[in-house]
Subunit: 193 residues, 2 copies
């Protein structure tokens, strides 16, 4: 380490002053209880993503590939523009990972039937298989966490998570989530159900 004998200032008394000597969880500035929620959310998401990250490594893919594959698999037929809006990344960032997924046979494109400029994205069998493999451990984790959360969690959690989404984004999120295996727009293919 650099210089262990420097003053090293003693901030404990001076800096902790603001936090100390208050009832317990009074209505301080940021509200400690909400900070605890934020922290738990960090821990939950940290471990949630570690599941699939391990699998992705075996394929030479990263988390970005997982996200793309997930959305293409669950909302097959969605357009590149939809994916950009969902992921909130730039065309270039998406382009890189999407290209790899296409070149390696996990995703195929199809020109839109009404607007042939559009590229509708579909998983291949291989892509679907990988998507399911990536989803499996996360589903197990979610299922057990829902169970641990107790009854009512199945109803409470979606409401909480939806409310966490930016208000302007909620209609889009709802609309994409409503179209599970169905494309966002038209695919030119009939739903054989």
């Amino acid at each position: 380490m650099t210089d262990i004998n420097e003053p090293l200032t003693e901030p404990a008394e001076a800096k902790r002053r603001t936090d100390a000597g208050l009832p317990r969880k009074s209505a301080r500035r940021p509200d400690a209880e909400l900070l605890a929620f934020a922290e738990l959310l960090f821990f939950a998401y940290r471990d949630f993503t570690r599941d699939s990250d391990a699998i992705l490594q075996d394929f030479g893919f990263g988390r970005a590939h997982h996200r793309v594959l997930h959305f293409v698999n669950r909302h097959s037929g969605l357009r590149v523009a939809d994916l950009l809006d969902v992921l909130k990344i730039t065309k270039q960032s998406l382009g890189r990972v999407l290209k790899q997924l296409i070149d390696q046979g996990y995703i195929v494109q199809q020109a839109g039937s009404s607007d042939r400029r559009e590229r509708l994205l579909f998983p291949t069998d291989q892509g679907r298989a990988l998507a399911e493999r990536l989803a499996a451990p996360q589903s197990v984790r979610l299922a057990s966490a829902l169970k641990a959360a107790g009854p009512g969690a199945e109803a409470t959690l979606p409401r909480f998570l939806e409310a966490m989404v930016n208000a302007e984004e909620r209609p889009k999120v709802s609309s994409i989530m409503a179209s599970s295996p169905v494309p966002l727009k038209e695919v030119g293919k009939e739903e054989e159900a």
Copy 2:
């Protein structure tokens, strides 16, 4: 685009086969309902982090700085090793952002009193102020989402989030979260409460 007149394979019929023609939400392989939860979690976290990202830009910091500052602020006095374990990143990754936060006066170090090799981390007033500013919009978001989730969410959510954490990590998470403004180990400073 490259070559729009290529075959462009038509996967819709062949590839959608597996998903179509099933009751509604039967016990298929990954369970569609859990995938919806995973997706909602993605959207929630996506927007949760966008709040503070905007503020961080004004300071030339990134999300990594936020995480470090958050934990140092809320668990002041924690050691570098604790931070590494919490964030699950390497010493080098932490070193870079921590150095910047120290150099720019947001965090100070103090040698441990019982083990002087340890560097206990504390926020400065400036650091505390930034941490609070970063936390503010996230707290607002969390508070309104908790409200929207309805009664019981305050009890259900922590249980859910804790259960999302890896089982082996839960003791550590609980222990760090139990020590809000208090250091993980000893600081050599008395809690003046």
